[in-house]
């Protein structure tokens, strides 16, 4: 039925010859399992994708989507289970291997070189590209592929850096098509795109499946799932919670499938925490704009109140916090801290104004990995620990010891480099750096528990609550529903750069927040202005 040895079809043919007829199963995943140490990322996962189908994979963070994707493109070797593709059982060693078989991944980190032209990028790194690579036949092939993807207006000679992000994504897809990909995995493709760009990607996707190729569409955005896909598989806690044909399932039941038991658990936790006391207005944000990322963000933050910004990657939550932290020179708008206008053009200015930003990427932008724990804990308060420019050892050690004890990092490790700590402890050091700083009115915590296990997460949440009880205003971003529901007093959901809703925690439910995080429809009634 499927002969792998068939010669590759000429690109641009309306139908792929040698590929299975529409409706036949192209990819079969059976009983796939993968553990990282004691953590079972996916467990006996079974899934099939038909030829000519857009198959959605949904599930909220930690459900196992990314592990599944990595296994399919050879970035991760599964512990058990089989992957059959076009009837042949695959054992993939690396992404090149997967590509040779016709499986290709497009994720947010594109592998295009911005300085090169569109054509050069399409053929970059291809094995069958001849030495004298500027051939008319190749150019024509690239042109045809771009046209199929709806990029008729893009010149082959345009530099990729001059294209919009959505167009770049399509160029990346074009490269994979030229390399004869039969199954494309689009991992959160729309997170950073504008509306017309999303439309363009969708049109291209539909065209691809019309040719008999298949697409796995990994997304949080339920509207898009309903708009584009034929079937949807929901993952929860590393298992398949169900596979459904789109026509047979509605939004509400899809959200329920994703949530499972969570609603009850989160509700139970709510009763434990007592309602927070507002200590008056701390920071007022009005009309914060970041071109292409955040649109008219207005919010008032109060002392002692923890505000959670819920939104998927690319929704603008992180950008809002970075702008508050002085790291986005492009931003505009007005911010008042304790009634005084703040200039947020550099992190130093932001800190002087009373806003401390804690980055989400602790390895790249947060910590100083090779430096001692003590150095890392005291970096933001060196001035107060020194006299005439000399760091007073005793004072510095005492403060570092206090902070380490407070966040639960071994005091005996103060002299070791931070890189020797576990991920969870590294995150605690990063948070410790931000705690008990005089003059800080607002803590802006960007994904405060990224990559931290459950126990560490609870500890960090308690520390944040403690800081809020001390009268600091806190705003944090998270892509994880249960974190938002667990920690926030006020839940703000964002979608595509705009606020969707602002709800007190008592009135928020997992389903309503998830619905707001995944929709493009602002619920005007609930937005406080």
């Amino acid at each position: 039925m499927n002969d792998e040895r068939d010669p590759a079809p000429p690109a641009g043919s309306r139908r792929l010859s040698g590929s299975p007829a529409e409706g036949d199963v192209l990819l079969e995943v059976e009983a796939l399992s993968k553990s990282y140490g004691p953590v079972r990322a996916i467990q006996s996962l079974t899934l099939d994708v038909r030829a000519g189908e857009v198959h959605a994979v949904c599930g909220h963070n930690g459900a196992g989507k990314s592990t599944l994707v990595k296994a399919l493109v050879g970035l991760v070797r599964p512990d058990e289970g089989t992957i059959r593709f076009g009837g042949e059982e695959l054992s993939l060693r690396n992404p090149q291997d997967a590509q040779a078989h016709g499986i290709a991944l497009v994720n947010q980190e594109l592998s295009l070189v911005p300085e090169l032209s569109v054509e050069d990028n399409i053929f970059l790194g291809g094995i069958d590209v001849p030495l004298l690579y500027r051939r008319r036949s190749l150019s024509e092939r690239a042109r045809r592929t771009l046209d199929e993807l709806g990029l008729e207006h893009v010149s082959l000679n345009a530099a990729v850096e001059s294209l919009a992000i959505g167009e770049r994504q399509l160029v990346e897809i074009a490269r994979l098509l030229v390399r004869e990909a039969r199954l494309l995995i689009l991992d959160e493709p729309t997170a950073t795109l504008s509306k017309p760009e999303i439309e363009r990607v969708f049109r291209a996707t539909r065209e691809l499946v019309a040719q008999g190729r298949s697409v796995i569409f990994v997304s949080h955005r339920l509207d898009e799932v309903f708009d584009l896909c034929q079937r949807v598989t929901v993952l929860r806690d590393g298992r398949v919670a169900g596979t459904h044909t789109i026509g047979e399932i509605d939004r509400r039941s899809l959200i329920d499938l994703m949530l499972g038991e969570m609603e009850g658990a989160a509700a139970a936790r709510l009763h434990v925490s007592e309602p927070a006391q507002s200590g008056g207005e701390a920071v007022r944000i009005e009309g914060l704009d970041v071109p292409g990322r955040v649109d008219g963000f207005s919010l008032t933050l109060e002392r002692g109140i923890i505000t959670g910004l819920a939104g998927q990657v690319g929704s603008g939550t992180s950008t809002v916090l970075r702008a508050l932290g002085g790291l986005v020179p492009d931003s505009s708008g007005a911010v008042e801290v304790m009634g005084r206008p703040a200039r947020l053009n550099t992190p130093r200015r932001a800190l002087q104004g009373g806003i401390l930003y804690m980055p989400n990427d602790r390895q790249r932008e947060g910590l100083f990995l090779g430096q001692a724990v003590e150095s890392n804990l005291t970096v933001a308060r060196l001035r107060r620990l020194s006299r005439l420019g000399v760091v007073v050892r005793r004072r510095s050690l005492r403060v570092a010891r206090e902070l380490a004890t407070m966040v639960g990092v071994d005091v005996g490790r103060l002299g070791s480099p931070v890189s020797s700590l576990s991920g969870g402890n590294q995150q605690k050091v990063l948070l410790g750096r931000a705690l008990q700083l005089k003059g800080v009115v607002l803590l802006a915590l960007d994904e405060p528990t990224r990559g931290v296990d459950v126990g560490g997460r609870a500890d960090i949440h308690e520390l944040v609550r403690e800081a809020a009880r001390g009268g600091t205003a806190v705003i944090f971003s998270s892509t994880e529903l249960d974190e938002v529901l667990d920690l926030a007093d006020v839940v703000v959901t964002m979608f595509a750069g705009r606020i969707v809703s602002v709800i007190p925690r008592a009135k928020a439910s997992a389903a309503s927040v998830l619905a707001d995080m995944t929709t493009s429809q602002p619920r005007d009634g609930e937005v406080q202005q």
């Binding site: 130093r348 980055p359 760091v391």
Partner: protein
């Protein structure tokens, strides 16, 4: 070549690679020690007081410059290629300004050095300009200015001024420059460990992106690192000018590379954040020792430069392996 040692090392597990890199480093240090001791014992005239003084004197000029350069290395800005020219320019200025007295001459020369470095550091710190290219350009500018202002003549001190000679005279039988070098090493080492500035330099060198997010004063720190490097180099310029009593661009010599070689051979991480002034000082003394030994054994200039280059390359490779295996 494709299946070279690098590939082999990369395939090994982390722990084994760590041991291998450490063993290689230990073997290297051992080899160098054995060679040095062997050379010391068998080279006639090496183990004499006067020769040890000669080594330390040679090490001290380069060492003073290299200690300053270390601040640039630690701050994560690679190195400066303008230090040799800074030596020449400041030495010329020092001899010229002696007409206003020794004290003012020293102060003004040091201020000139400070300013030269600060300008370069500002371009690097505030705008992220490439430190290597900026300093190459600065070196060209300094050469041009020096020839222009001196009309291409070498500068000699005014006949009436003899006070500077004290700087060139030995103190307690030891050349003055050695005291300056050792004192500077100790002071800067302590300062880098103890002061806020020192800690911030290490943090900046470790991770510039984190430093920005953590609100460290990146522009100020970078400017200060280059300014201090240039200030110390001006100090060396004063001593060198006083010793040679005649200053022109010829004084540029090979100070730039010798200082960088000292910092690299001492085992400071080129990428910044790790290392110390003490290491650099050790590197400077080591290079001076090897050069002296080769000289006594009749090796040419070429041989000395060649050996220096090989040591630099091997140390850079070994330090990198060790760093990555951590």
């Amino acid at each position: 070549m494709s299946a070279g040692a690098g590939g082999a090392l990369r395939r090994l597990g982390d722990r084994r690679r760590y041991r291998l890199a450490d063993t290689a480093l230990a073997a290297w240090i051992g080899t160098l020690t054995v060679l040095t001791v062997y050379g010391a014992v068998t080279t006639t005239g090496f183990m004499t007081v006067s020769n040890v003084k000669a080594i330390l004197t040679a090490a001290s000029f380069v060492g003073i410059i290299a200690v300053g350069l270390t601040l640039i290395v630690l701050s994560g800005n690679l190195f400066s290629l303008a230090l040799g020219q800074t030596v020449a320019v400041t030495a010329m200025f020092f001899l010229y300004s002696l007409q206003w007295g020794l004290g003012p001459a020293i102060v003004m020369t040091l201020l000139l050095g400070l300013a030269i470095g600060a300008v370069q550091g500002f371009a690097v710190g505030a705008w992220g300009a490439n430190p290597i290219i900026i300093t190459i350009g600065a070196a060209g500018l300094m050469e041009g200015l020096a020839v222009w202002l001196s009309h291409g003549q070498s500068i000699v001190p005014p006949v009436s001024a003899t006070s500077y000679e004290r700087l060139a005279q030995p103190l307690f039988g030891v050349p003055f420059a050695i005291f300056v070098f050792l004192a500077l090493t100790v002071v800067v080492e302590v300062a880098m460990r103890r002061t806020r500035f020192g800690r911030q330099i290490y943090l900046l060198g470790e991770n510039r992106v984190s430093a920005r997010a953590a609100a460290l004063p990146i522009t100020l720190l970078t400017t200060a690192a280059f300014a201090l490097a240039s200030l110390f180099t001006a100090g060396a310029g004063v001593l060198i000018g006083a010793t040679s009593q005649n200053a022109s661009l010829l004084l540029t010599g090979s100070y730039t590379y010798d200082a960088i070689a000292a910092a690299l051979v001492g085992g400071n991480a080129v990428t910044g954040g790790k290392g110390s002034v003490l290491r650099t000082a050790a590197g400077a003394i080591f290079i001076a020792t090897i050069s002296d030994m080769l000289l006594l054994r009749g090796y040419s200039t070429g041989g000395q430069i060649l050996v220096r280059g090989i040591i630099v390359v091997v140390v850079v490779v070994l330090m990198n392996l060790r760093e990555r295996s951590r």
